[in-house]
């Protein structure tokens, strides 16, 4: 039985070898490995599972490869709206944020809701105000923009427009 363990995911979907270039595949592998190393470094040194979860997710939130944080997809209105949650298995405490647009790392805000408020979920402007009060970094919404996601948004908008007009 291992003394500690960590598993991560970066999303599921229509991910095939045909849709991936070797370079992009390499980027994903390296970033996932970086996330594993960030979390495992904490666990190996006796840190908590909560710290490890946040460290691993922060790596993926900061990467434009994944649909969270920088690299989040766009809504129909062309903005980024992010959600996150966290739960502690020791005491069943939980925290979440929904519909936030300026929190750089939403998982840290979810943790702050869990640990520093009597609530489980905060949403929108209130969640952002709370995060700011807790010293969590807020960024301009342009931080989340990536060309790749914007192009996906434009394609989806075009498809929706064609569907609307038959």
């Amino acid at each position: 039985q291992p003394a500690w363990a960590l598993a991560i995911h970066g999303g599921a979907g229509t991910i095939t070898k045909e849709s991936m270039t070797p370079e992009l595949e390499q980027q994903y592998q390296e970033k996932l490995d970086e996330a594993l190393q960030a979390g495992s470094e904490i666990l190996k040194n006796g840190g908590t599972s909560l710290d490890a979860v946040c460290a691993a997710i922060n790596v993926m939130e900061d990467s434009p490869l994944f649909n969270a944080g920088k690299g989040a997809v766009f809504t129909a209105e062309g903005i980024n709206e992010m959600d996150a949650s966290i739960m502690n298995g020791e005491n069943l405490m939980a925290g979440a944020v929904a519909g936030v647009k300026r929190i750089k790392n939403p998982i840290l805000a979810a943790r702050a809701v869990m640990e520093k408020s009597p609530h489980v979920m905060l949403m929108g402007d209130g969640a952002e105000k709370f995060a700011q009060d807790q010293g969590i970094e807020l960024v301009d919404s342009s931080y989340f923009f990536t060309e790749n996601r914007w192009n996906s948004y434009l394609k989806a908008r075009e498809k929706a427009s064609k569907e609307n007009f038959g």
């Binding site: 039985q1 991560i8 999303g11 991910i15 592998q29 989040a72 709206e81």
Partner: protein, 136 residues
């Protein structure tokens, strides 16, 4: 969406999930990621779960909580419980996605019913392993 589940040296589980939602989603739409019990759950008496996929299906079927409940109350193994929810409950109704699951014994299960899922594991006795496609 991205997520992580961890077991520390003190025997405590944790789970977290973070997402940008679905491309071109309706403004204000919220998926399963921030819903405790749907996309995220952790219980030292069961398991830690983080989900990714079509959120509405994960919310209606309370997927993360159900995996934990199947372990606690029906005595299923982690892998049996996780696979049951992904392949027997979600797949027949068109609920696409997957979960990463971890119990206090360090067992890991990562079932998904899509073509691929970006995923990785590392434990105190196994080196890091990263996989992407379904046939790996």
């Amino acid at each position: 969406t991205c997520g992580a589940v961890a077991l520390d040296k003190h025997g405590n589980l944790a789970a977290g999930t973070s997402t940008g939602g679905m491309t071109y989603k309706m403004k204000g739409r919220v998926g399963d990621s921030p819903i405790i019990g749907a996309g995220t759950y952790a219980d030292n008496n069961g398991c830690a779960i983080s989900a990714t996929g079509h959120g509405e299906f994960f919310i209606r079927n309370v997927v993360a909580f159900q995996i934990n409940a199947l372990m606690k109350y029906k005595d299923l193994s982690l892998d049996e419980a996780a696979r049951y929810m992904i392949f027997e409950v979600l797949k027949p109704i068109g609920g696409e996605g997957g979960v990463i699951a971890l119990d206090t014994l360090g067992n890991i299960s990562m079932p998904f019913n899509t073509a691929g899922m970006y995923r990785g594991t590392i434990t105190s006795d196994k080196n890091a392993e990263v996989k992407i496609y379904g046939d790996e």
